[in-house]
């Protein structure tokens, strides 16, 4: 699996970056794109790290539960507020109990139980929609301070 698309220079005018997620290497690629985008948008190194870490968690959920999916990174605007939006999308088995999945301390993979609840804490906005047998979409936003 190549990480070739990382070598493409990211231009400030790029509206959207889609990273296909199917392996643990893609997790690294997605979070590196997140950091690149955050840095280009003028986020501090600390904030870029938060965004990259959140992307890493979401991408790993895709690999663990759905095998494949995609991460879409884009700029977000809400009036004067500028930010970054990350959409993690898969067509996996879906989540039976969404409210339980985002509760603190819950994990089905024997992990730390911090996956989705942790991501939610790192971000300003967090939305999840999931349908059994259809897939899961998680949308997170972080506004520039």
């Amino acid at each position: 699996m190549a990480v070739g698309h990382v070598t493409r220079a990211l231009r400030p005018t790029d509206q959207e970056i889609t990273v296909p997620i199917a392996s643990d290497l893609d997790i690294v690629t997605a979070r590196q794109w997140g950091r690149t985008l955050a840095s280009q948008r003028g986020y501090s190194p600390t904030e870029a790290t938060l965004i990259a870490t959140a992307i890493s968690e979401l991408a790993r959920n895709i690999v663990l539960y759905a095998k494949r999916g995609e991460i879409v990174l884009a700029s977000a605007n809400d009036g004067p507020k500028q930010g970054i939006v990350v959409v993690a999308r898969d067509e996996g088995p879906g989540i039976a109990d969404v409210s339980r999945a985002i509760a603190d301390g819950y994990s089905t993979s024997g992990g730390l139980g911090l996956g989705l609840s942790g991501v939610r804490r790192l971000m300003d906005e967090f939305e999840i929609s999931s349908e059994l047998g259809k897939g899961t979409t998680v949308t997170i936003k972080r506004w520039k301070r």
Binding site: A48, S56, E57, G111, L112
Partner: protein, 132 residues
Amino acid sequence: MQVPILKQRDYLIASIQAALTDEDLKHLRDALVAQVGEYRSRGVIVDVTALDVMDSFAVRTLRDLAHMTRLRGAETVIVGIQPEVAFAMTQLGLRLEGVAAALDLEEGLAYLDRQAKRPTLRGAGPHSGRRA
């Protein structure tokens, strides 16, 4: 990306050079646990200075590594966690839980030397306190 493991005195030093995949991290964990026996090491240093992200998987794997090497008689210390990474880990609620951390390689070596001097650490016996 293979992580080079150096042997220095009674210690193993794993110096992570670039971003690691989950598989790379698991490989590093298993290699260190094996090499502790191979080289009869008393301490392990994992230098994570080059890691710009430590998510729940990375933290869990490093913690497992430390607990596994401890069961084999070697203390592990994680060195070089960057300030941004420390911030993100704290925000995420990720803890090293009983695993030692030190600022850098030098502090990590000093920590292991101090541990080796403590006679109670490995039980007081006629051969305890063996050091390089």
